[in-house]
Amino acid sequence: MTEVKYSKEHEWIKLEGDVATIGITKHATEMLGDIVFTELPEKGSNVQKDGTAGVVESTKAASDVYTPVSGEVVETNQEIVDDPSKINQDPENTAWFFKLKVKDKSEMNSLMNKENYDKFAKESSS
């Protein structure tokens, strides 16, 4: 079973072999409200741990999306660019953002498991 990990910037990451799938959490979508615009990193580009790797915008404001680990972007999800409201509907599953070929799997170690993230999210929103 693959464990999903979480960042303090409210991204989730699921590692399968060398490839990680990354998206934003349900908690993040609830804080953002209706998402109406998405920008994703370019396929083939390299992104650095904790660096920006996209943008989501709600009717209210724009927010950066960060990558929790470094790697090369191997796939992006065009569906959420065409219809950003899908992110609100299914953020932690079909509305993933991008897939990375991970450079250094040990970068995963500093991330939170589900239990710790839920606690973190609850504290940071109160």
């Binding site: 409200g33 615009f37 920008e39 009717t59 209210k60 609100n88």
Partner: protein, 368 residues
């Protein structure tokens, strides 16, 4: 400073509002359904907006009142009929805008609706400008709610009989369970609708009845997307002291008769700008793609010269795409002029367009 709450605060909580501080008040930015749904519901059905943070200034006076107010506002108040409303501005001597407002002729005086963030300063300015004998009351004992959208007239008429007979931009006193309410047919969403001034003690009751008849509470978030699609200005963003009504493309709101006399505060500059033109002007801007250009986004011409700035920009749920307005050098203000908007370091194509983005559906005559 203490954050103020409106009389509908508890009702907002019951409907799971997310709150935001706005002009010193705790106001609902959205409810559980979110801005896009709230926006669409207002356009298709009916939405209720708590705008009790706005100022309700009653000015009473004798025969001199009209004369004194005409020295301040660029309006033909002599010919403003009882219970009729006009959109106007409070300006400084350089025609910079202190506030934009709606003024209504009532018995023995006027009711002026002011922006929440400006109302205390407006009161101070008007107090200094007006003669002592005019009585001014910035009424904190009354709430203000707007009900907007195509079903609003039927819904409100079920609760306050007779409002269907009001014409656009006019009002009257009505009775809600024996309490006096002042209702005008007006609003700020581009839809047919009403604004209701009611004592604080009864606003909760009235609002609940409107909800029971099928209207829904709508937050400030959707109020912003609705007014922007309708091409309407938001003070502090699209209007401020560095902009004049002529630059804001609002010269339609200035009385021609008053311009010919030129005897109101700021009239020198207004007349000069009307005769000689302005260097910058407010326009609608439609990005070509999906990118949202927000306030303070720089506008460039086709030769990559910085020629303007966005003052309001968002995603328009009814337009189903980005919408914006801003100020641009006059020579680039023509409809269909291609410009570029700098968002996150990249320049994105956009076109100057007419306003509104969404066609208004005001009901001009009374619906019987």
């Amino acid at each position: 400073m203490n954050i103020k709450k409106t009389s509908l605060y508890q009702l907002h909580q019951e409907y799971r509002a997310k709150f935001v501080e706005f002009a010193g008040y705790q106001m609902p930015i959205q409810y559980s359904e979110g801005i896009v749904e709230e926006h669409k519901f207002t356009r298709s059905h009916s939405g209720i907006f708590d705008v009790s943070h706005m100022g309700q200034l009653f000015i009473y006076g004798g025969e001199d009142l009209i004369k004194d107010l005409e020295k301040i506002f660029p309006l033909d108040l002599k010919n403003l009929k009882l219970n009729h409303s006009k959109y106007s501005f409070l300006m400084d001597k350089d025609a910079g805008i202190h506030d934009d407002l709606i003024i209504t002729k009532i018995n023995e005086g006027f009711l002026i609706i002011l922006n929440a963030a400006c109302k205390d300063n407006d009161f101070k300015i008007l107090k200094e400008l007006l003669e002592e004998e005019h009585k001014m009351v910035l009424d904190e004992n009354r709430s203000l709610i707007a009900i907007q959208g195509p079903k609003s007239s039927q819904i409100l008429n079920d609760v306050v009989d007779g409002i269907k007979d009001l014409n656009f931009m006019s009002g009257n006193w009505f009775s809600f369970k024996d309490h006096k309410v002042y209702i005008t047919r007006s609003g700020y969403t581009g839809e047919d609708g009403f604004e209701i001034s009611i004592p604080n003690n009864f606003v909760d009751k009235l609002t609940r009845e409107l909800i029971n008849k099928g209207s829904k509470l709508i937050g400030l978030g959707a109020r912003d997307t609705l007014r922007l699609e309708a091409g309407l200005c938001l003070y502090g963003h699209d209007l401020d002291k560095d902009k004049t009504p002529v630059e804001a493309n609002l010269k339609w709101a200035i009385s021609k008769e008053r311009i010919s006399k030129g005897d109101f505060i700021g009239s020198d500059i207004i007349i000069k700008q009307l005769n000689n033109g302005v260097s910058k002007i407010r326009v609608g801007i439609k990005p070509e793609g999906k990118i949202i250009a927000r306030e303070k986004t720089k506008i460039f011409n086709q030769s990559d010269v910085h020629v303007g700035e966005i003052t309001s920009g968002t995603f328009g749920p009814s337009v189903n795409g980005p919408v914006a307005m801003g100020y641009i050098e006059n020579e680039f203000s023509k409809k269909d002029t291609k410009v570029f908007l700098e968002v996150r370091g990249k320049k994105h194509p956009a076109n100057i367009c007419g306003l509104p983005f969404y066609k208004k559906s005001y009901v001009k005559g009374a619906t019987k």
